[in-house]
């Protein structure tokens, strides 16, 4: 990646300037920060996908074993949990840049959901609340997956080290 100064001095001045510019761009803090934030956006997307998948997987059995009304109640709770997760992710993204409270809006929409569910006859509280907990299932699934993938990588590294130690001549 980086070249020695002597190697740079042998090239034409234009090429050297371009290369230096490129190196500066690659190692600049803003670029590093951008790459780092990509990881965060990827995590957000993964959580949304897991929550949506879990929502679809749970919706069908609830419809089959209970009723369409209960399943729709569940779906409403799960959709609000997605919105809640979005608000939380936005709050965490803005943390340290603006002075604000974390999770205020999310709790607000959840409180509105429960109040509406308790007042409106067609909605029942339990399926809505359990639907709201879907985001947590998604997070737990993500954490379990990351723990197992990390332990799998560790195991393969240990195996590789053992194999290379055994194959190396003494």
């Amino acid at each position: 990646m980086s070249q020695s100064p002597s190697a740079l001095s042998n090239q034409s001045p234009e090429t050297t300037e371009k290369q230096q510019e490129k190196l500066t761009q690659e190692s600049s803090p803003s670029n590093e920060q951008g790459n780092s934030m990509t990881e965060y956006y990827e995590l957000q997307r993964t959580l949304y996908i897991y929550t949506l998948t879990l929502m679809g997987l749970i919706f069908v059995p609830v419809w089959y074993f209970y009723s369409l009304n209960t399943a729709l109640n569940y779906l409403l709770g799960a959709l609000v949990s997605l919105v809640y997760l979005r608000f939380l992710a936005k709050d965490v993204e803005r943390l340290g840049q603006q002075e604000q409270r974390i999770g205020g809006k999310g709790l607000g929409i959840f409180a509105i959901l429960i109040i509406v569910a308790s007042k409106w006859q067609q909605l029942s509280i339990l399926p809505v609340f359990l639907g709201f907990l879907t985001y947590k299932g998604g997070i737990i699934f993500y954490m379990l997956q990351s723990v197992f993938s990390a332990s799998g990588e560790l195991d393969s590294e240990i195996t590789n080290t053992n194999v290379s130690e055994e194959s190396s001549p003494k």
Binding site: E39, E93, I114, S118, K119
Partner: protein, 79 residues
């Protein structure tokens, strides 16, 4: 004391007590995360990701208290 008054007091206690622990925890976690980002800006994405996951878990404790309080206020099974 009738059941309505007791429910209102119970709801207030439920949400109030349920907010103390997660409030302290979230404040600590966010403060430490901001300090970590300031120290290591290149790890910002990882720190924010971990913070998002921990905050989601912590806030669910407040949500449980909120549910109990709202059920006591709007759908009280004892009234």
């Amino acid at each position: 004391m009738d059941i309505n008054s007791a429910s209102v007091i119970a709801a207030a206690l439920a949400i109030g007590l349920a907010a103390i622990g997660p409030g302290i925890g979230q404040g600590n976690a966010s403060g430490q995360a901001v300090a970590g980002i300031a120290r290591q800006p290149e790890a910002e994405g990882k720190i924010r990701g971990t913070l998002l996951l921990t905050l989601a878990f912590m806030e669910s404790l407040t949500i449980y208290g909120l549910v109990v309080a709202l059920v006591l206020l709007f759908a009280n099974p004892f009234v």
